[in-house]
């Protein structure tokens, strides 16, 4: 396996694990957090902050999601999926831009 294939494989393994493997949060909820789409407040507020400006997340954001019925393990998984989802969109956008230039040559 090439070095680049190994990097892509470890990324895909991470994404597959958090989205499709066993967890405390439902699969569709993890996927929605990863996509930052299709959620309602207060979960959408927390997920959007994690994706766009995680340094703005507050204790209240976490508490609100807990009060809405999510356990700490579910919040853990949702936040992980939100972070990996946004970073994945950035990663794939950049790789596609690079591939576009290479294909031109």
């Amino acid at each position: 396996m090439s070095v680049q294939d190994k990097k892509r494989t470890t990324h895909q393994a991470l994404v597959t694990r958090v989205l499709e493997g066993d967890g405390r949060a439902a699969h569709n909820q993890r996927r929605a957090a990863f996509d930052n789409a299709g959620l309602t407040a207060p979960l959408s507020t927390l997920v959007n902050k994690v994706a766009k400006y995680a340094y703005k997340v507050t204790d209240e954001d976490i508490l609100a999601v807990g009060e809405a019925g999510l356990s700490e393990d579910q919040i853990f998984e949702i936040v992980v999926c939100a972070a990996i989802g946004q970073a994945t969109r950035q990663y794939e956008t950049a790789l596609a831009a690079l591939d576009g230039v290479i294909e031109e040559e």
Binding site: V3, H11, A13
Partner: protein, 193 residues
Amino acid sequence: MRLKILNSGYSLSRKMLFTFIRVVSGQPVPDAAKLVFYRPDFYGKPMAALTHEAMRGISAWSVGDREMMAAFVAKMNECEFCIRAHSAVAARAYQDEVKVSAVLSDLETAPIEEPLRATLLMLGKLTREHTVDMNDMRTVLAAGVSREQIQDALAVCFAFNSTARLADAFEFDVLEPKGFEAGAKFLLSRGYR
């Protein structure tokens, strides 16, 4: 950390490991390590494999360059824990604290090679604006960076765009300088696995 489970939800054997780390290093276990050890099957193990490959796998970038990228991406994310953690590793890898400080305070004038500067500029834009385009890639390639080096840098960027978000969302404790020094020594000798 904001979730109680990330502070205390560990098995007895894991708690014993944390005690061992505290005794050996003389410093508290960093929250970054606790996160990786929490239900590691879900996140910690696959993320550690990815991060180790990006930061210590085969690459034309040096370990110092990749740690510098991690610190720079952390700065773009305004993540204090990750800035301090990875600037400490970069400084130790380069054996040059001044260079790391210069990059973080003013990338345009910092005393580094142009390929690294062009790559950091692209990673900074990707992190701040969440996107880059083909022109950005042409600029990096024109600076003498290979396709493989860009792919390697993007893998580093992914790792720390994920980690910085988690550090801020879960509110990692910012350690004393000695704590970050101990962490840097460990990461430089052992990596991320």
